[in-house]
Assembly symmetry: C2
Homo-oligomer: 501 residues x 2
Amino acid sequence: MNESIASEKKKLPSESKTTEREDLGITVHKQEDFSEWYTQVVLKAELADYAGAKGFIVLRPNGYDIWERIKEYFDSRIKKTGHRNAYFPTLIPESLLKRESEHFEGFVPEVFWVTRSGTEDLLDRYAVRPTSETIIHDSMSRWIRSWRDLPLLLNVWNSVLRAEIKSTKPFIRSTEFLWQEGHTAHSSEAGAEKEVMDILLVYRDVMQDLLAIPVYIGRKSEKEKFVGAVYTTTLEAMMPDGKAVQMGTSHHLGQNFSKPFEIRFLDKEGELRFVWQTSWGISWRIIGALIMEHGDDKGLVLPPKAAPIQIVIVPIIFSTGKAAEIESKCREIEGELNKAGLRTTFDSRENYTPGWKYNDWEMKGVPLRIEIGPRDLANGTAVLVRRDTGKKRTIVTSDIVRESSTVLEDIQSNLWTQASKRLDQQTVMVKSYGELREVMEEKGGFAKAAWCGSADCELKVKEETGADIRLLPFDEMPAPQSNCVVCGKPATEIAYFARAY
Amino acid sequence: MNESIASEKKKLPSESKTTEREDLGITVHKQEDFSEWYTQVVLKAELADYAGAKGFIVLRPNGYDIWERIKEYFDSRIKKTGHRNAYFPTLIPESLLKRESEHFEGFVPEVFWVTRSGTEDLLDRYAVRPTSETIIHDSMSRWIRSWRDLPLLLNVWNSVLRAEIKSTKPFIRSTEFLWQEGHTAHSSEAGAEKEVMDILLVYRDVMQDLLAIPVYIGRKSEKEKFVGAVYTTTLEAMMPDGKAVQMGTSHHLGQNFSKPFEIRFLDKEGELRFVWQTSWGISWRIIGALIMEHGDDKGLVLPPKAAPIQIVIVPIIFSTGKAAEIESKCREIEGELNKAGLRTTFDSRENYTPGWKYNDWEMKGVPLRIEIGPRDLANGTAVLVRRDTGKKRTIVTSDIVRESSTVLEDIQSNLWTQASKRLDQQTVMVKSYGELREVMEEKGGFAKAAWCGSADCELKVKEETGADIRLLPFDEMPAPQSNCVVCGKPATEIAYFARAY
């Protein structure tokens, strides 16, 4: 019996792809049709679905669980530095939204307007929240009186809506998205600027430490900054298809909002002064990047730290003989692993073969699978199968907590290493406009170039190659006497150009 | 020095009320002006604030933290029974909302309509989510194929909007409110009905076990049920002012939605059948009830299980002599208590006197205060002060974890006992319509009465006394041969009448 099970085990994973799951597996290769591959992973791993309303998506439980992991990670980090969560209204009166005019103009084309309440027309129409600066600053103007009230460090987990004219791409581009928006007020400009950078570095940890996605950080150009900000800092990742994803932004608002919203405080000397402010956000878009970054032809691949389920235990039961004993062993191990803090689930579903289950959990990206069959039961062993490399290893079950921990750590670090290597390969320094165009036309990625700082050159690159300036790094300067790759005038900055989602 | 501190300690709590905090404390008595008292607690404990948009409120961090406690409690309970969280769009196309017509008619007067996107008119206008049955059922119709997909147990944490014509009362009545809405689909009516009741009992635990608010459970009358439901079950609490609060509802939807939304599944015999459904929700309204139920003239009183901060440690420092040692002792105890799982914070703020801090934390409802001064330091003691009774007790610090645990448990049970006694006192069986009117006119509360089941009698009571039927209990029947207190015809039910928020 053991023999036949061993051969079953070998055959199942490949067989099942062409038999049991024809319509369930991914039908294209990631390398060949990236866009279709992405959509299939999103839908077939049941992360999200298109909604009954055009341009909107539904976040399904598998996707929601990942979002919760991200929330917990970020939330616990910012709570340690005194930030607190709150909730502000979904609807913002037009009169409030208009108070900071540049910001208002920037959002007008994307705003959904509520004009009727029940059967009556509204006098002051409402915007469905495109972002909450205005309504939060309105509250801050009532809450802040003295230096004792500062810094005021608020965060909100909510959704925002922006009418999208382009087609929907789940997580990456949809009319509504879940995000967090932080809004802070400080007594000094230095305090606000420190906050902008502190948060940017927490965001970097979310991306790199939790999601294993390497990012570059830097400033946005004037053209690309948040409307209403003095300056915007950003985190940018590079996808396998050569397009960048903006992973999050942290804005220095200066006194651009505190003046129109009259947010003032009495300083220690008794003088009335305007506060300095920041705002910052990351959205479920980073789940989109996570899928693109690590996924493969079998579906989603989740880094263990971000995985709602880190380990799945699949029993290998072909006859009823040992079924009860195997199941009981699986439950015992499940309990042991969970007790050790490893998020483990036992797949006890009947009516599904082990092979079907392998594919199902591979599709969902669970980092580690543990298989236990009759032979394992007899030998006191279990088989560990890594999602990232597919490698199998038989271990003794008395070591299972330590072995599983080690493998999970190794998967996290392997995904990080692979992603970092790719980012290196996808980042090139270009010396001429010709090279820049070539990079964009051929394989995409980041092209680093010396730039004169002019918006005309930036626009020319956008029009001719489709690439934006994704960021201006904090710590890289053009070589002395180097010239802008676009116009040839003296360069003042290094710019990272890329096409982007 | 010890002497003077001891006397300081005695004086501070009462003194400070009339000196330092004139504008900070509650200025009315709960017994005398309940409504004004409530508003002051909400605003001064910084639980919520009125928003820049009329009818809307802002949930401030102190309120949000309580909501988070409720979320965690409920979420962990329903996850154990296989429910999973998801997120669905804020905007619902009118065409979807209309598909179940009774439900639609019920919500029309309260719906906010989005008619414009950017600068363009929309053809199919959007409702800003008043509840999500329709958009979720639309998705369910695509997700459910066979009996294997059932039960489908979804939950959503979001906000809903209902245009309110009456005045705003934070938590109790506002245009937008945070809530959770559960939506489930089952293969049998029995499965759906069991779900309705299972959830109702989890809700009861939220109210009673977590919030220490006793509730009655039962069915709503036809007139009061959720539009679109076959029947609605409810939890009702009684406030000190004699008005009831509906704490949550759990609805049996039958096939009222599955038919128009065509949610069908192949059963084990291969037959295509419509699913049976439920929906259920609790909102931040229960925070309003929490405030009313337990609060006193000093402000909020939180049951320890629901308190984001269970213990606050206040150092008694009047000279700089022992300041460092006291602070270090406080931090040590803070660490010890937190390690033991008691949510503790050390109030190290400078520039505030101990008395000011006492009042501040009393206002915020923290269940237990620990005071540590120079004498305590010398004696190895600490003073525990209960928020519910105000009683002080000196203990040795080596016992502090055990003593604090015991006191917190006792506070939870004391609040429960007090509230239960009051509910008993506020529930009376009435034998005649005259008695019913008298109860409603005099002190309010629940009037239990035999009822014939007719909507006419229900309406007459509403019109003449302002009282609704809050619930029809599951387990109480009218005495044989008893008659309806309104019309005198034979009674078929016991009804709980009350005026309500």
